[in-house]
Symmetry: C2
Subunit: 341 residues, 2 copies
Amino acid sequence: MSRAASIKDVATHAQVAVGTVSNVLNNPDRVSKRTKDRVLQAIDELGFVRNDAARQLRAGHSRTIGVVVLDVGNPFFTSLVRAAEDAAAMNGSAVLLGDSGHDANRESHYIDLFQEQRVQGLLISPVGDVADRLEALRQRGVPTVLVDRRADEDRFSSVSVDDDAGGYLAARHLLDLGRRKLAFVGGPLSIRQVSDRLLGARRAVDEVDGATLEILDSDGQSVLAGRGLGNSLVDRGAGDMPDGIFCANDLLALGVMQSLTMMNGVRIPEDVALIGYDDIDFAVSAVVPLSSIRQPTDAIGRTAIELLTEELDAQHPQHRAVVFTPELVVRHSTAGADAPH
Amino acid sequence: MSRAASIKDVATHAQVAVGTVSNVLNNPDRVSKRTKDRVLQAIDELGFVRNDAARQLRAGHSRTIGVVVLDVGNPFFTSLVRAAEDAAAMNGSAVLLGDSGHDANRESHYIDLFQEQRVQGLLISPVGDVADRLEALRQRGVPTVLVDRRADEDRFSSVSVDDDAGGYLAARHLLDLGRRKLAFVGGPLSIRQVSDRLLGARRAVDEVDGATLEILDSDGQSVLAGRGLGNSLVDRGAGDMPDGIFCANDLLALGVMQSLTMMNGVRIPEDVALIGYDDIDFAVSAVVPLSSIRQPTDAIGRTAIELLTEELDAQHPQHRAVVFTPELVVRHSTAGADAPH
DNA sequence: TCGTAACAATGAAACGATTCAACGACGGCG
DNA sequence: CGCCGTCGTTGAATCGTTTCATTGTTACGA
């Protein structure tokens, strides 16, 4: 329980100056083998471990990067975190993780915290309006890369997916199957990803005569929320059911699917065609394998880190907005079946 | 891009001493309203943000706790991380996250890193043999709580689940259905959780005359690995198939299920009864809703943090080993069906 | 009017690492 | 023999905060 050994203790023990110990650690070639060995032995004997706080106080910044995600439970962000971790580990730094849970207050709290920690850079998938705060950070030399949200290229780099295009893809696919009475399940619409997907879907529907799009606002993005919405759909009776449903994410879609097929005997895709978004691993192993819109998650994570690294290295970095295009994955939940009747 | 404002800059700007600024921040009541307002205004004008490195250098420790998990992608750990985050946020600290990916080297790397960061405490789900390193940490006043591994109570607190009991539950359930030719799917067996589950299963099988247990070692814990093993099972021909399969986790089980039902026409549970482990969210929405063994993940996360907090607060903490008992969840993949024939 | 509490504010010391100007020892060269 | 350059080592200064003994101010009671 005794106080941890400092570089000074090591110096005393090895009978050298503190500067020499520091050199052994940071510039080994400047030190003769004899003294180096002696110092290393002292370090070993005392179990000395560098105090990073002192280091970064001197250096003016830490060796961590901050990552603020909307939800660590979401596979999309999990993959981002993993990519960030790997990249950080490469150059001996670590990741400070914050889960905002779609809550602007928590998000703000994490930005504060990370700023106090003097993170080198920030990866954030923003909830609230944080542009000003991030701008302030940027001016102090802390670059930020926005994830899953397109940014003004003058100020930040960003990596995002074209959600409008994804929404269009999904709705268009349902329409191509001959479905006309579509429903969009997702919410809250205040989340930009959700509203963009809806926008794209609306665009597709507007292109086809006689096609309609009903909006079912869910409060949450969970399987449970989807199940609830599915039940309320069934309660309306068969005549009033849509024949194509587009869910803003796969969890919702799986919930809707459970409700319709398992609890209420609605056939997918015969009665209702169903498509989700994100193409999570489990989409393929659902009751009815789920069609979905795939986002290149790994590429997004890698790219985000690349952009951040660029900004960290360059003096006057070019900001870049990388936009990935999502991809339609057709499975049984929309496959082959013609429109009902 | 100018250097960040320090407490000294604030002091100058507000025309007070540095100690006063510090007091405004840490002991507001000791400062008169007049000066406090002046200081706060200066802080605002300069955009001053505390430098936590200096703070913790003085304090001797950081305000972070380290969490090392086997795999952030695993929902079990995700829930742990979330619990840790919430608890940390409560008292103004943050979580440093490390994903060891079942790799002892990476694990060791993270312990080093976190030690340099002077984390207040450590939550770890260990891969390699790290007892000595953790013991060294403990002696320096950095408490550790082991997650998902039972620890010697003299040295560490731990939170775990009785995997042997879980394995027994699963196998016993299959035997109770009348199945006799069981297979255990999981690996690598070097992972203690996996081998314990196998041990429990073996115990159950040994209790029943004429029951056999075949071991299918998988190299990985993914849906894909499960699918591969499922395919190789089918290749052996119908006569050589087990009639009950116990998978060491749900991902494997879902993979096996996909392979058997969708690609090879084997009926679950009629031909083969299947049970997984972990009861992840998706178990219920599989092609055939999957029976599983549920671990109380939230309680585990919360308890881990509680134990850590206890150790942080107490001078001479009692170490405690909390063991949760898993629970059988019966769904269609093992439901009702009698043995084949 | 003086003494003394109570309260505010001060500023130097300490935390532990890194950096860098300065120093000593040594060898080679003229 | 003296000069110079190289190499290895030294130790003081620095980073930004907190802490705490000290000083200054005010008000109040004797």
